[in-house]
Amino acid sequence: MIEENRQAVLLLTSRFSSKNGVFDPLTPTEYGRFALWLHENNYQPGTLLSQSDEIAEKWLDPKNKITTERLQYLLGRGLAMSLALEKWQSAGIWTLMRFDADYPKQLKKHFGQNAPAVLYGVGDKGLISKGGLSIIGSRHVDEDDREYTEKIAKQAALEGFNVVSGGAKGVDETAMLAALEIDGTALGIMSNDLFRAALSGKWRKHIRQNNLALISPYYPEAGFNTGNAMGRNKYIYCLSNYALAVRSEEGKGGTWSGAKENLKKEWIPLFVKSPSDATGNKALLEMGAQSLNLPSEEIQNNPQAEWLIEKLKALKSDSNVSDTEPKIINEQMELF
C-alpha cells in the first residue's frame, strides 16, 4: 500500500509538465483538507487507485474546489506521472512524503495539515532535519556582503553548523559553497530548477560526498517565479535553528517579507548583518532581530573557536526554540 499511497499523493498534488493541464493539482491547503477527510473516513490515499468512484461519491468539498471531475482528472494522469518520475529519477531526484521517516518533522510541527505533501530532492536526506544556521539575502551581492557571507558561512561550518539557504544566486550560493568548500554541510531549499541544479557541475561533487542536499516543494522543472521564491522562505526558517539575513530592503523582496514573517510568528531567532546600510536590516533590528558582526581574524583562523556557539547560546534563554524533538500535533502515521 505504501507504493500506492505515494503514487496517489503525487497524482493529487504534483505537476508533471510545464504546461497547464485541464485542472491544477491540489494546493497544500486543498490537499490538507482532503487528506484530513480521508483520514477521518478511514481511507488511505492509495485506495483512490482502486476505489475512486466510491470515494468520490462520498466526498463533498465544503469549498467546492475539489470536484469529482477534478479528482478523476488528476488521478488519471498515470502515464504523465510515470514519464516525469522516470526523467527525475535519472537526475537522482527522490521524493519525500509526510508519512516517510525522513520527512522533516519541523514542517509538520509548524504547518500541520498544510505541510507540503511532497518534497523533491537530491542528496543526503539526513541533512534535511539537521537544522543549523540559515543565511539568506538578495540575489545581488556587493563585495562587502560577499566577503561577510563567506566568512560567516565558513565559521559556521568550522563550528559544526549545517548551513541552510535557498540555493539561489547571490547570498544563498555564496554561503552554501563557502561552507561546502571547507567540507562543511549545506541544505538548499530551492524555489525553482531543482532538476537543472541536480545536473550542474557546481553542486555535483558535494552531493556525491554526502555534504549537500537540495530540496524543493515545487515542480522540479519549474522556472523562476516570484510567488514560489517568496513562498519557500518560510521553509528555510522552519528547517533551521537560527537565521541570518545579510541584506534586505525595507518593504521589498523575499528576504524582507520572510524575515518579517519569522519575527511575527516567532519561529527562530534572527540575526542581521552588522554593520549595514541596508534599510531592511535597520528596521529588523528594531523589530527584535540581533546584530551579528564578523568575528576577528584570530577567531576566523582558529579551528577550535566557539565564537558562533557562544553567540547563539546567549539567545537561548529568551527564545522558545528548543533543540529537542519538536512535538507533533498529529501522530506521524496519521499524516498522509
Partner: protein
C-alpha cells in the same frame, strides 16, 4: 451476459462483417481484464491469433466509458495505412507518431488527440528516447491515457533474444505506472523465462494468456554448406522450384548485396532490403512483396517485427541467426494463412565468426564508457556528441552506441539536457558498467549460439526442437520437416555449373574507392584537421578518381590470401596477377594511367613497395617512388574517427619534384576510411600530377 460483453461481441462482429463471429479462447477474458478490472495482462500468442483485436476492442469500450485514448508502443513496420484501416474496423480512430513522420504530422496527431478526435496512437519505441518528443508531444497527451499497450514486449527482457535499449526505457516507465492504468503486453515469441521476467516487470496480479506458438503449416529444413558459393548455387537452382513469394534472410548487409546481385544476375526477381534503405523505399518494397510482385526480399533482420504477410510461402536463411528463438521469430512469419510453407535454414563456416563478432559488440567497451563519463564529468555544462568524438579516439558509431546504452541504464549516469542540438550531462550517481549483468547476458548469448549450432546438426524432428526452446508443448513429431518426411523435402543438391558461376561471381565483386569531396564541413573544421597542410575545405581539383580494391580483408578467396600476406609481411605473387587481371579486364579507368606510385611505410618498407613494383611491371608501366614519409606517426589503423585520422596524417608525407606526366595509380595494401588516399592524392595533385587512381589490395572498410 453482461452489457460490456454484449457490446464487445457486437464490435467484434461488426469488424469482421460476420454476425455469428465469436471470440477465441481468452480473447474476451483479456478484454475484460483491461476494461472491467483495469488490470494488467500479458498475452503470448502467435501472429494472427488476434492480439490487436483485443486491444482495439478494449480501447473502444474504454472510450465509450469516457476514458482517455490508448497509447500503443509498437515497432511500426506494417504500412501505416494498414494499421489505421485495421483499427477503423473496430471503430477506433488511430493516429501515428514516429520518426518517419514529419514534425507537422506528429504535431497534427497530438492536436487531434488533445481535442479528442483520436482514440489511440501508435508510437515507435525509439521515440521514447527523445526528450523533445516526450516533452512536446507525448506529455500533453499523457494526462488522459486510458490504456497502455506494449507490442513485442519480449524486447524489454534481458533474458530475451532481442533485448533493445529503447525498450529499456519502456521498462522504466512501466515501473512507475500506477495500478489504475490498465496495461496489456503482447508478443509472439517468448519462452518461459522471458515470460516470467516480463511478468515481474509488469508488477503484481498480472493475468497471462499463452497459446501455442509453433505453426502447423511449416515444413522445416536445415542444410550446412560451408562455402558461400555453394549456398548461392543452391538458391539459384532451387528458388524457382518453390511456390509463392517469401523472404531470404542474411546476417549482414554485405552478404545481402551479394545474394541479391547474384540472384538478379540469374534472372530472378528479388530486391534487397536493410535498415539503411530509405524509409519510403522500404515501404514500397514491403508493399511489393505483400502484393506478390517480387519473388523474394533479401533482407537483414531489419525486416522484422510487425511485418505481417498472411501468404508468406517461404523464409530462407542464407546464414544462421544467433539463437533458436530469434530463428523462430523470423521463420514463424511464414505460413500464417496458407496450408503449407517452407522454412529453410542454410548455414556456413563463416557463421561462427559472425555470431562471435555480434556477441563481442553487444555491450560497450569499459574503457570507452569510462572515457565518455570522464569527459562529461570535467565539462561544466553539457557536451554534444561531436564534442565527445573530438576528444576520444573511438569510432563514432561506437560512441553513439555507448551513449545510447548509458542513457538507458537505470539510474542513468548521463542524461540529455538540451534538445536542439542534443547535449548530454553527467548525473550524480556513481557508475560502473554492470559487469555481472553484462557477463550474464553475454553468457546467455553464447549458450544460445551453442544451442543454435546444435540445432543445425540434430537428427530428430526439427519442429519439436524449436518448440522445446520456446517452451511450447509438442509431444509428437511434426511429420513435415526433413527428418520426419525426407521424401517431400527440397533437394539438397545444385548444378556444378551453377556453383562455378557463383564462385566467379564472388571473385568478381569489386569494391569502389570513392573520392572524398570535403575536408570538413567548413574552413574551421578543415584547418583544425590539417593545421599543417591547410587543404581548402573542399578538395575540388585535388580529389582523386574513383579507385578500386581487389578484395575484402579475410574473405574467402583473395581476401584470405591477402590477410595472410599482411601477416607474413610479403604478399603472395598470385595477388599481383589477380590485381593486374582486374585492372586490365574488369576495370577501365577513364584515362589509362601511365605510371604507378605507392604509399610508403617506415614499419614495413618493402611490403607495399615490392608489390607495387611487380604490379607495375606486369602492367608494363613505370614505377616511381614519388611519395616520401617525412614524419613518424602512429599506425593509421589505430585511428578510430575522422578527426584523429586526419591529424595523424597531417604533415607526414611529402612529394618529390619532377613527377612524370600522365594519370597515375596510387597503390596501398589496405583501404579503410580512405583518408590516406585522399591526403596523398591531394599532395600529388598539388605538385601537378595527372588524375590519381587509388588501388588497394584489400578493403578493411566496414561501410563499403
Amino acid at each position: 451476459m453482461n452489457s460490456v460483453y454484449r457490446r464487445g461481441i457486437e464490435i467484434l462482429r461488426q469488424s469482421l462483417g460476420d454476425s455469428n463471429a465469436a471470440f477465441h479462447e481468452h480473447q474476451w477474458e483479456s478484454i475484460s481484464t483491461l476494461v472491467e478490472d483495469s488490470g494488467r495482462l500479458l498475452v503470448v500468442q502467435r501472429t494472427g491469433w488476434g492480439k490487436s483485436a483485443v486491444y482495439f476492442i478494449a480501447t473502444k469500450l474504454l472510450r465509450e466509458r469516457g476514458q482517455g485514448p490508448a497509447v500503443i508502443i509498437s515497432p511500426l513496420l506494417a504500412l501505416m495505412r494498414n494499421q489505421i484501416d485495421s483499427a477503423a474496423r473496430y471503430g477506433v480512430r488511430l493516429g501515428t507518431m514516429n520518426s518517419s513522420n514529419s514534425q507537422a504530422e506528429n504535431e497534427h496527431t497530438k492536436v487531434a488527440t488533445l481535442n479528442d478526435s483520436l482514440d489511440a496512437i501508435i508510437i515507435s519505441p525509439e521515440q521514447l528516447s527523445k526528450p523533445d518528443f516526450i516533452e512536446t508531444v507525448l506529455k500533453p497527451i499523457a494526462d488522459r491515457v486510458g490504456l497502455f499497450v506494449i507490442d513485442e514486449v519480449h524486447c524489454i527482457s534481458d533474458w530475451g533474444h532481442d533485448f533493445r535499449p529503447d525498450y529499456k526505457r519502456i521498462k522504466n516507465i512501466i515501473s512507475f505506472l500506477p495500478k489504475n492504468l490498465p496495461i496489456i503486453a503482447t508478443t509472439a515469441t517468448a519462452n518461459s523465462r522471458v515470460m516470467d521476467d516480463v511478468c515481474t516487470q509488469l508488477g503484481q496480479n498480472v493475468n497471462i494468456y499463452r497459446g501455442k506458438l509453433t505453426r502447423d503449416s511449416l515444413h522445416l529444413q536445415s542444410i550446412f554448406f560451408p562455402q558461400r558459393s555453394q549456398r548461392l548455387a543452391w538458391l539459384a537452382d532451387r528458388l524457382p522450384e518453390i511456390d509463392g513469394t517469401g523472404i531470404i534472410y542474411t546476417a549482414t548487409v554485405k552478404d545481402g548485396e551479394k545474394v541479391t546481385g547474384w540472384l538478379q544476375s540469374r534472372g530472378l526477381n528479388v530486391e534487397q532490403y536493410h535498415g539503411g534503405t530509405d524509409k519510403r523505399e522500404r515501404e514500397a518494397l514491403e508493399k511489393r512483396l505483400l502484393n506478390n510482385e517480387i519473388k523474394a526480399l533479401v533482407a537483414t533482420s531489419a525486416l522484422g517485427m510487425g511485418y505481417d504477410k498472411p501468404d508468406l510461402s517461404f523464409v530462407i536463411h542464407y546464414q544462421s541467426p544467433g539463437s533458436v528463438v530469434s530463428y523462430y521469430q523470423q521463420v514463424g512469419r511464414a505460413g500464417r494463412g496458407i496450408p503449407k510453407a517452407h522454412g529453410i535454414l542454410l548455414s556456413g563456416s563463416e557463421d561462427d565468426d559472425i555470431q562471435r563478432y555480434f556477441i563481442s559488440q553487444a555491450f560497450p567497451n569499459e574503457k570507452l564508457v569510462n572515457d565518455i563519463l570522464e569527459v562529461l564529468e570535467e565539462a561544466d555544462d553539457g557536451l554534444q556528441e561531436k564534442d565527445i568524438t573530438r576528444m576520444i579516439n573511438a569510432r563514432p558509431t561506437k560512441i553513439k552506441a555507448a551513449i545510447k546504452f548509458l542513457l538507458a541504464e537505470s539510474p542513468a549516469p548521463i542524461v540529455i539536457t538540451q534538445q536542439r542540438p542534443i547535449a548530454y550531462n553527467r548525473t550524480l550517481i556513481n557508475y560502473q558498467l554492470p559487469y555481472e549483468t553484462i557477463q550474464r547476458l553475454s553468457s546467455i548469448k553464447e549458450r544460445e549460439w551453442k544451442v543454435m549450432q546444435y540445432y543445425l546438426t540434430i537428427d530428430s524432428c526439427l519442429m519439436q526442437k524449436l518448440a522445446h526452446e520456446l517452451d511450447d508443448d509438442l509431444s509428437e513429431p511434426c511429420g513435415k520437416c526433413e527428418i520426419c518426411d525426407p521424401e517431400h523435402s527440397l533437394p539438397q543438391g545444385y548444378e556444378h555449373t551453377t556453383a562455378v558461376a557463383a564462385s566467379e561471381y564472388l571473385e568478381n565483386i569489386f569494391i569502389d574507392i570513392p573520392p572524398k569531396k570535403q575536408v570538413g564541413n567548413g574552413h574551421a573544421q578543415a584547418h583544425s584537421r590539417f593545421p599543417n597542410y591547410r587543404f581548402p575545405y573542399r578538395f575540388g581539383e585535388l580529389q582523386h578518381e574513383v579507385g578500386r580494391a581487389l578484395c575484402r580483408w579475410g574473405e574467402a578467396g583473395w581476401g584470405e590470401i591477402a590477410k595472410q600476406g599482411k601477416a607474413d609481411n610479403q604478399f603472395d605473387k598470385r595477388l599481383v596477377a589477380a590485381s593486374a587481371k582486374m585492372i586490365k579486364k574488369r576495370w577501365e579507368p577513364g584515362q589509362q594511367p601511365t605510371w604507378m606510385t605507392y604509399v610508403p611505410s617506415n614499419m614495413h618498407p618493402k611490403l607495399v613497395a615490392e608489390f607495387a613494383e611487380s604490379l607495375a611491371e606486369k602492367l608494363g608501366i613505370s614505377y616511381v617512388h614519388a611519395v616520401l614519409k617525412v614524419r613518424e606517426n602512429a599506425p593509421q589503423k589505430d585511428m578510430e574517427n575522422t578527426d584523429f585520422r586526419c591529424q595523424n596524417l597531417d604533415g607526414v608525407f611529402d612529394i618529390i619534384d619532377d613527377l612524370p606526366e600522365g594519370p597515375v595509380f596510387l597503390v596501398d595494401d589496405a583501404y579503410d576510411s580512405g583518408w590516406t588516399f585522399a591526403v596523398i592524392s591531394a599532395l600529388l595533385r598539388q605538385k601537378g600530377s595527372g588524375p590519381v587512381y587509388p588501388f588497394a589490395i584489400m578493403s578493411t572498410s566496414t561501410s563499403a
